[in-house]
């Protein structure tokens, strides 16, 4: 209850502001469509139920969401669930790639001194590239190379999301204090043993915050990668089609679906973290 109440308050505030914005945003359109003798109350009322509003009202978005989720079988391209699954699959594969790359880079950076100097600038440079801006181009290029479907999207998603994983892991793998490391030395542990029994477990608390940042980024990457080439499936395709045809309701429904997927992804990371914590006595 203590968690639900603040959440409900925020939700109510957002809905109020949203409703308040709908009337002025759609006023011109509603007035143009209104009869000559229409009162201002009628126009205001009409702003809430336009076919292609500039800003749809909350109930319109809700209706569109329910209609596009429940109205069609999930295998139909008209179903929003179908598109959500397509995007989520690409994001998940991208996230797994980011995890593998992020951890591998961190291990290299921490263990090989020359890699620290050689790799880190490139890792940072890769994040300075405006992936979102060039993603369409990358997807087109990959398409020409024969890479279509899920993989190019996953690559963009991975590119966009590996950085927080790398930085978190670098910090985590370096977190053991000198005493904890000296202890391993008194056992004459091999570097591999030191990694497995000290550095790796010590890095876990640093990995999960990185994963929590990376998960929504992977989703953004997958959606952006769907924008070009007139992809027929995925939330990105829905957004694009919606803006082509002025279907604002469809755009907003897709945006909400993306937000729900992001929440689900972060919740999944939280769950994985909870499992890890329970095996460590609930701390760290």
């Amino acid at each position: 209850m203590t968690r639900v109440l603040p959440l409900a308050c925020v939700l109510a505030c957002v809905l109020l502001i949203w409703m308040a914005a709908v009337v002025p945003m759609n006023w011109d359109q509603a007035q143009a469509l209104a009869d000559d003798g229409a009162q201002w109350q009628d126009v205001a009322w009409a702003t809430l139920s336009l076919d292609r509003p500039l800003l749809p009202a909350p109930h319109q978005v809700a209706g569109e969401l329910i209609g596009s989720i429940a109205g069609w079988p999930v295998t139909s391209p008209r179903s929003l669930v179908f598109h959500a699954v397509v995007t989520f699959a690409a994001a998940v594969v991208g996230f797994v790639l980011a995890l593998a790359l992020g951890v591998a880079l961190a291990v290299g950076i921490v263990h090989v001194r020359t890699l620290d100097r050689a790799l880190m600038p490139w890792v940072i440079a890769s994040q300075a590239v405006p992936v979102l801006a060039i993603a369409p181009m990358v997807v087109v290029v990959l398409g020409n190379l024969g890479l279509t479907g899920l993989l190019p999207k996953a690559l963009i998603a991975g590119w966009l999301s590996f950085f927080p994983i790398t930085t978190g892991m670098v910090k985590g793998l370096r977190s053991p204090d000198p005493m904890q490391r000296d202890l391993m030395r008194t056992y004459s542990a091999t570097p591999r043993q030191e990694f497995a029994k000290l550095r790796w477990p010590a890095s876990m608390p640093f990995l999960f915050p990185g994963l929590k940042v990376a998960a929504p980024l992977a989703l953004v990457g997958a959606i952006v990668a769907e924008l070009p080439t007139g992809a027929q499936a995925g939330l990105g395709a829905r957004l694009l089609a919606g803006s082509y045809y002025g279907q604002t309701l469809q755009i907003w429904a897709a945006l909400f679906m993306a937000a729900v997927l992001a929440v689900l992804a972060v919740a999944a990371v939280d769950l994985a973290q909870a499992v890890m914590l329970s095996r460590r006595g609930g701390r760290l």
Binding site: M179, D182, T186, K197, R280, R283, L284
Partner: protein, 260 residues
């Protein structure tokens, strides 16, 4: 060299260089520790006690002199797991429970699981922590954590136990309890122990010999025999014999200072 000499040092010297500043941590330290002895290193902080212990453990390299552990180089001794090291802080791995902290060195050695469990049970009994074996470090008091750390150092049955102010961060009541405990443990196991402290009563109570060191550069001022009865209780600290040894240690510490 007699077979029962565990640590033998000749003219050891260590100089640290940090930020262009040279610190002479130890000069001309010579020392022989026999099997089964309990030797305390006592001196003001910064006099190189930790450094000397780390030299024996092969965690630090001498700049001068010769050091033998079990008749071999410190490195050989380390590779043979000749010693268990107890650090100033417990240095437990917080993601492992008590038992798994104690079995850590055994895992590194490649001992099988059943044997590890048996060893852990035995050393945890030795330090009186059997009922806390499933707890995690943060669920234990400082004194209990340090006992886990001692159990961990004993788990692979080294002949030599190196302890660096293991009770330094604890309150006096806990310290007294642990001092008693450590003495009983040493008597039962027949270990050779090198124990760093800056507490005179602690050193006198526990030791067979006390090595008094002076600060900057760290030198051995005097080695004092501590021939109190083998059976020791806390009441011993009020006896004339105990007070006499403590007095000698204090005098030696003062002499060390006057060299400055």
């Amino acid at each position: 060299m007699p077979a029962d000499i565990v640590v033998e040092a000749h003219g050891l010297g260590v100089t640290f260089e940090a930020d262009g500043q040279r610190t002479v941590a130890l000069t001309d330290v010579s020392l022989a520790i026999r099997a089964g002895e309990f030797v305390s290193l006592i001196g003001p902080s910064g006099c190189g006690k930790t450094t000397l212990l780390r030299l024996i453990a092969d965690l630090e390299q001498p700049g001068a002199g010769r050091l033998l552990v079990n008749g071999t180089t410190p490195e050989q001794a380390r590779l043979q797991l000749a010693y268990g090291y107890v650090f100033q802080a417990p240095a437990l791995y917080p993601w492992r429970n008590v038992t798994r902290n104690v079995t850590l060195p055994l895992e590194v050695m490649g001992m099988d699981r059943a044997q590890r469990q048996a060893r852990a049970a035995r050393v945890l009994d030795l330090v009186g922590l059997t009922e806390f074996r499933r707890r995690f470090p943060w669920q234990l008091s400082g004194g209990m954590q340090q006992r886990v750390s001692i159990a961990r150092a004993l788990s692979f049955e080294p002949g030599l136990l190196l302890m660096d102010e293991p009770f330094g961060a604890l309150d006096e009541i806990t310290r007294d309890g642990l001092t008693l405990h450590l003495h009983a443990l040493w008597r039962r196991t027949g270990l050779t122990a090198v124990f760093v402290t800056h507490s005179i009563p602690e050193a006198v109570y526990l030791s067979t010999r006390i090595v008094v060191m002076s600060p900057r550069p760290g030198r051995v001022v005097e080695v004092i025999d501590c021939d109190l009865p083998a059976e020791r209780t806390l009441d011993l600290r009020d006896t004339p014999a105990f007070i006499a040894v403590a007095h000698r240690v204090r005098e030696a510490l003062r002499a060390g200072h006057s060299y400055d």
